[in-house]
């Protein structure tokens, strides 16, 4: 069983500034497994430890105690190659556009593949492929990345990680600071990567709304601990507890619960507008009296 798991976290703890006045326990006994090809959302409010957690997944941070296994291998073993792990677990940081540095967009995207030891030509091919998949117009490829708009810069930065062809793609708040159109564009792009390439995707966010319709599983973080780890509809069923820790379920969840409490037999597990519509049409055409009730 364990060898089929892509990643296993076993009681991972992380303490910032240990033994000083500023000591903070950022992760507390975090354990979970990630199966190959899953689309996972990690949710938590600011300071819940989600960014710390994902930096453990590609070995940028080392757990104070606990272990992490990648394809069954302990990543803290002395002979484990952490650079190789970073090649296979692609991490896109928050505001990734702040990491751009090259003179042209194309060269910047080539940075990752070249670090992997690929030859000029192959790195170039990878870069082309990645830039095309993020939908950047071709005439921009040889311009300075600093001249682009915010959304375009972010797509270039994401392409920079995609060009490394990771098995796992982790994105930390990829939609922060984007307008609704830019947000949908990025999320659709990520969903397409998952669908077409079958890569494992981990999406970090503090907005339930954003990820509800994409992910298969949600891990809720609170004060460095895993609070819930389940399918979206099961997690959102706890919407009262989520509110108590400063998170909110999608608005659809609230609507459905409200309707149900007023006597309309709708499916409270609906999490997207489409599912809610189906359920509503079903409920309204089924019981005609329900329509008068909700007025």
């Amino acid at each position: 069983m364990t060898d089929k798991m892509l990643m296993i976290l076993d009681k991972v703890n992380y303490v910032y500034s240990e033994d000083t006045a500023y000591q903070i326990q950022a992760l507390k006994d975090v354990s979970f497994k990630i199966a190959e090809g899953q689309f996972i959302g990690i949710i938590g409010h600011t300071g819940s430890g989600k960014s710390t957690l994902i930096q453990h997944l590609n070995g940028l941070m080392k757990a104070t105690t606990g272990s992490i296994y990648f394809h069954g291998q302990d990543i803290y073993d002395d002979d484990f190659d952490l650079r190789e792990l970073r090649n296979r677990v692609g991490l896109v940081f928050q505001y990734p556009e702040h990491q751009l540095f090259e003179t042209t967009i194309f060269d910047d995207v080539c940075f990752g593949p070249k670090n992997q030891g690929l030859k000029e030509e192959e790195a170039g091919l990878r870069a082309f492929e990645a830039l095309r998949s993020v939908g950047l117009p071709e005439e921009l490829y040889y311009q300075s990345p600093f001249d682009l708009s915010g959304g375009q810069k972010r797509r270039v930065a994401i392409a920079g990680v995609l060009a490394m062809k990771p098995e796992v793609l982790i994105l930390d708040e990829p939609t922060a600071g984007l307008d609704p159109a830019g947000r949908d564009e990025i999320l659709d792009l990520v969903a397409r990567m998952h669908r077409e390439r079958g890569i494992t995707v981990i999406l970090v966010s503090h907005s339930m709304e954003d990820i509800a319709k994409y992910v298969q599983r949600i891990i809720v973080m609170n004060h460095g601990e895993v609070m819930f780890d389940d399918t979206p509809s099961n997690v959102f069923a706890h919407y009262r507890e989520l509110e108590a820790v400063g998170l909110a379920a999608p608005q659809v969840t609230y609507l459905m619960h409200e309707l149900k409490s007023r006597g309309l037999s709708v499916n409270t597990e609906a999490i997207t507008v489409e599912e809610a519509r189906e359920s509503l049409i079903g409920a309204l055409t089924g019981i005609d009296s329900g329509r008068r009730d909700i007025r």
């Binding site: 702040h98 990491q99 990680v161």
Partner: protein
């Protein structure tokens, strides 16, 4: 990683020393440094030690925090001790090739070590109990008289506090960019010097870009709030001397007087 670097290394605690006016602390530190380099005799050394120990006690800062500062000057202390040991002229006790060990050398080396250790311990009390902002505030107020002769004291203090404010932000930013580039396979450690310098480009370019962006944002935000220099500007928490500040001044002056008296009348045995 870089997060562990503390600048200004303020240690939050509740103590009389923490509550003192920063000007008192600046002045006292100055007096303390002067006393360190002019004391003579065992009696004076005892007074200095007692004074230092007393202040450390009262400050409520764990002693190991002050010792941390000593580690940084360990090499300097070693070199000073060696030079003093062998290069002080006097009656040789012991010769080994060109090296001559003298009684005066041993005494000088010992004294120098004590002075350096006390210097670091004493000054670190100031930085451990005063936030960088309080410190610049104190400096600004203390140096205000110089603005009459055309020195832009307010501007200098403002620049200092902005610089101090931005150091942790830039450290954090460096850490973030470094990690982001490491996630893309960058390697900052291995290779020869030329490779290492080259590997800094992916770090430095984004860092400069972000520093300029932040500077722009800050300037804009200050202008939006009608900042126009120090003239007529009031403070939210103006510095005012209290009773304990007066007491501290008296203590420090009595301390200096004692040291100077010892220097004059109790020189024995140094």
């Amino acid at each position: 990683m870089l997060r562990d670097i503390t600048l200004g290394q303020y240690y939050p605690a509740d103590s009389v020393i923490h509550k003192l006016d920063p000007r008192v602390k600046l002045f006292s530190t100055m007096i303390y440094i002067i006393s360190l380099f002019c004391f003579r005799g065992v009696a004076a050394l005892l007074i200095v030690t007692a004074f230092l120990a007393g202040v450390i006690r009262v400050s409520n800062v764990p002693f190991r925090y002050m010792v941390k500062g000593l580690r940084a000057i360990l090499v300097l202390m070693l070199i000073t001790a060696v030079f003093n040991l062998f290069l002080t002229p006097g009656e040789p006790l012991f010769t080994f090739g060109v090296f001559r060990l003298t009684a005066e050398g041993i005494r000088n080396a010992g004294l120098m070590l004590v002075r350096l250790t006390y210097l670091i311990l004493g000054t670190s009390i100031m930085t451990l109990t005063t936030t960088p902002n309080q410190l610049t505030d104190g400096l600004e107020k203390a140096l205000m008289p110089f603005s009459k002769i055309g020195i832009p004291v307010h501007a200098i203090a403002m620049m200092m506090s902005i610089a101090l404010r931005f150091i942790p932000i830039l450290i954090e930013e460096t850490d973030k960019i470094m990690k982001a580039q490491m996630a893309r396979g960058a390697d900052f450690e291995s290779g020869n010097l030329l490779r290492k310098v080259k590997s800094m480009i992916p770090l430095l370019v984004p860092l400069f870009v972000s520093a300029f962006r932040r500077a722009d944002d800050l300037a804009m935000a200050m202008e939006a709030r009608c900042y126009n220099g120090g003239a007529g500007r009031t403070k939210m928490k103006p510095l005012r001397y209290g009773k304990r500040d007066a007491l501290a001044y008296v203590t420090v002056i009595v301390y200096l007087a004692l040291i100077l008296l010892c220097r004059r009348y109790l020189r024995w045995p140094m």
